[in-house]
Symmetry: C2
Subunit: 202 residues, 2 copies
């Protein structure tokens, strides 16, 4: 199905053009015409793939979440070369690292998410889409902490869901302060390590 592939490839190209604009100027200032120009196509061509800005925003958000998930998977595979499951602590740390602006790729991704976040809190429709990935991430963190308890690496009295919420919120907050220049992304990672060290104490 070469036609279909081309169609998806073009939709992704438009999404990436939107992210470039979102991460340099913010989402609000991006008109469909600007996005089309950034993607190197005409407004008419873009409208063949997306009928309006909302549809484009939703697609681009889904796509960026997929890419982040894929990046986490790749990193976990890269750090885990031995047999058996990768250690939960390493998995949590690698996932948190993707959520910090430690490199240009992560930084752009987080800037796009900030732009979505600012829109979602004042836009019901966008909120519903922006919320989609959060329970999945929370379940993923909870699951890893539950495994760590089973492996005897986290104290049995710790509630995996509470710990997952604490780690997720802390990581997001640290990432935001790093973006604002309150401290560096490396300092944010140091603080996550302080938190993980306390969590992984039995």
């Amino acid at each position: 199905m070469p036609k279909r592939v081309d169609h998806e490839e073009r939709r992704r190209r438009v999404a990436e053009a939107l992210w470039r604009i979102a991460s340099t100027r913010g989402l609000e200032s991006a008109s469909l015409r600007d996005v089309a120009a950034e993607a190197g196509m005409s407004l008419g061509q873009l409208q063949h793939y997306f009928t309006g800005k909302d549809e484009l925003l939703v697609f681009a958000l889904g796509h960026i979440n997929e890419l982040a998930t894929q990046r986490v998977r790749e990193r976990i595979l890269a750090l885990h070369t031995g047999p058996g499951e990768p250690p939960p602590r390493d998995v949590l740390r690698e996932t948190a690292k993707v959520m910090l602006p430690l490199d240009d790729e992560s930084r752009s991704g987080i800037l796009v998410q900030v732009a979505y976040f600012a829109r979602a809190v004042v836009d019901e429709r966008m909120l519903a889409h922006a919320q989609e990935g959060l329970p999945l991430l929370l379940d993923f963190f909870s699951g890893q902490i539950r495994r760590a308890v089973e492996r005897g690496e986290v104290a049995a009295h710790r509630d995996p869901r509470t710990e997952a919420m604490l780690l997720m919120a802390l990581t997001d907050g640290l990432a935001n302060h790093a973006l604002m220049g309150g401290w560096s992304a490396e300092e944010a990672l140091r603080l996550i390590d302080v938190h993980l060290e306390r969590l992984f104490t039995v």
Copy 2:
């Protein structure tokens, strides 16, 4: 100086009109004309007080930070009726509460800050202003934790600055998730209590 007072009062009225727009529709969509209409004045009258949108944004940000600081002070005074200094743990908890969307006033304030945050990360000039309050809050948190160490309420090996950064980032992250509907503001406060309980363990 009745003239001067009137001038300041009008500038604040404009700032509050901007916040109402920012917390319902976002900052980007607010034109000076919209803000003037919301404040019940003409565009010409508004331009007597603010020559452009940037000047208005900076004034409004300074004003909202002042109000938040004042709210924290009032709450600390309200909870502390006895002699001597108020207990650091109570001070930290009350400050964190102001940073959570527990009531309409806090919620609006946080929505405005989110709107500023989204703009600051893509706008150098706004970033400089948005950063101003952060070192002060960090110093305030560090100072309270240092006092708690001196009072024997926090273990001596804890670094006050590291703990202040962790608490500040956690509170911001929890507030953002509460805004997004990931969990309630009350649940966010419960998680702050879990964190404080661990911090205040010697």
